[in-house]
Symmetry: C2
Subunit: 331 residues, 2 copies
């Protein structure tokens, strides 16, 4: 993999997918597209963290059921989330008698899981696997920013963590294939503002996109959509501007899951949505169904993740980021 694009000889198909969201996502522009939601964001549990695990559990169960499979048909679960020690995933996965690979890629985890699962499928390590990720507004705010009760004022560049979980079963059934994968590098451009994740993550997306187009036979025009995970309004503008300087114009076909999931003004989300769950539920509820219906044929999906912790920021550290790329082809 000298040029680092991994072309999958035996491309896995997305056999099924399932999305679970909270009330604010349900009230947004994509509300009708999600498979399941909860009005109170607690999903019948007594803590936000348990609610997040419950979402992941329902997403995995939903995806496995929709694929017409039993748990025992699935060789591997690939899961991760934003919580300390990835407990959203860990506790969800105890409900399944399936081997488990824990991932940490912050908000890039949806693309990390899809990319890795696709590699393991491609040459027969697994015959079916399920990638899942989640985020929850309330567990994230407490952990990364302030307790909700504090009522802190949000800055204009702040993003709103999506409450949601999306799961994907990869196997030999389906119409959407993962044909190429490009793993991201940890990129640190010195951004230190925890309220401007878009700016912190954009450089990693630029690195991955530039590596892709410099080494691929395809140009941006080849793709119906070039979709980043959750750069939001701030990061998306930085991305498009700086890519122009590299001679890569994605302005026509770029979108970002963080721009799609909420109504910016009416839902008061400032710079857009974010979180592992954001790209997972947008891909599961909107993009992949559109590919299945023939509305899009070629899609580049790039999850972007900010790799800091509150402690490293308190210690004056900057925010490294990463972006993993997945090339999806329909038909």
């Amino acid at each position: 993999m000298k040029n680092q694009i991994i072309t999958l000889n035996n491309a896995p198909k997305i056999s099924s997918y399932y999305s679970v969201v909270g009330h604010k996502e349900k009230a947004g522009p994509m509300g009708d597209l999600f498979d399941e939601y909860s009005d109170d964001d607690k999903f019948g549990k007594d803590t936000w963290e348990k609610a997040e695990s419950e979402m992941q559990y329902r997403a995995v169960k939903g995806a496995i059921n929709r694929a017409g499979l039993r748990d025992s048909d699935v060789d591997l679960l690939l899961a991760g989330d934003l919580l300390n020690q990835c407990v959203g995933s860990n506790y969800a996965i105890t409900n399944f008698d399936i081997p488990y690979l824990g991932l940490y890629g912050a908000c890039s985890t949806c693309s990390e899981g899809l990319a890795l699962g696709a590699c393991l499928y491609s040459n027969g390590i697994v015959s079916k696997c399920c990638a899942v990720t989640s985020s929850h507004y309330c567990s994230s705010e407490r952990q990364f920013r302030f307790p909700l009760e504090y009522g802190g004022q949000r800055t204009p560049t702040a993003q709103w963590t999506t409450t949601g979980s999306g799961a994907f079963v990869l196997g030999n059934e389906g119409t959407v294939k993962i044909t190429e994968v490009l793993f991201g590098k940890a990129i640190d451009k010195g951004i230190t503002d925890i309220n401007n994740m878009g700016a912190a993550m954009a450089p990693s997306a630029i690195d991955t996109i530039v590596r892709y187009f410099r080494n691929s036979n395809h140009s941006p025009d080849y793709f119906d959509k070039i979709i980043t995970g959750d750069l939001g309004y701030e990061g998306s503008e930085i991305l498009k501007d700086l890519l122009l300087g590299e001679g890569i114009d994605i302005r026509k076909n770029h979108t970002d899951c963080g721009l799609m999931i909420f109504e910016r003004e009416q839902q008061d989300v400032h710079a857009g949505g974010s979180g592992c769950g954001c790209s997972a539920v947008v891909m599961a509820a909107d993009i992949i169904p559109k590919m299945e219906r023939g509305e899009y044929k070629e899609v580049l999906f790039m999850g972007t993740g900010a790799l800091m912790s509150p402690i490293t920021l308190f210690q004056g550290g900057s925010i490294p980021a990463i972006c993993h790329l997945v090339h999806l082809s329909a038909g």
Copy 2:
């Protein structure tokens, strides 16, 4: 993979390895075996978290150099650690212009990285990769238990987090191969005592070992060593006892990295060593060199990880655990 043991047709070799430890590990029974150490555990940095990243950086650099490679020869870094958002790894990896897959398996991360890297090598996704993990006593105590300054009394079943990082380059050079892999499941048996990780993790090791021997042609006698990651004295006894009930006797050839790294009484470590770095440095400094010298031929290595967070314990949650298995063969 119906029986879930993955036999690697194209088995990767451990081309090099490198271990970096703190002063207490240097003073222990394996002190002379480690490649590098720091007297003050700060490794020239101003925080414990940065020290942990520095250890990982040195371990990866050391392993790549020893293999006679340049960074650009390595296709992928697989890394993870115990810190919130895996920042030990994230900041270390920004020093390398190499694609990065972030993992979270708690103290099982060394075996998770080796197992996953081996799968990706076997099917040609990567031709060389490097798996690394770390832990640091001081960053772990603050995060999981108490600030060091508090001077809390340790319980008899408490383990001592190893300050160390171990890195392994997988490729086509070397005498020790990874021939089989078995991914663990998240197992929760209801243990809630954060000072008894051995008891929490033993059930996951039992699950993995039972699955291995029920589905393998090998018996425990086939292996020169059956090595768990960091069950310590408490967990190792539970493991051996409960396995006897399953008709599997590993008493003759079992050992645990947490038993090896410290002198229990003189170094006042209670139930032994622990942490991602524990099994990584013991494998890199002792087990794999012994396999290269022909002292051991067949080794089962099983990293064990406890998958809780302090928050889930405060919320009354129990401690799920996971154990990934790697079968190493020399010659």
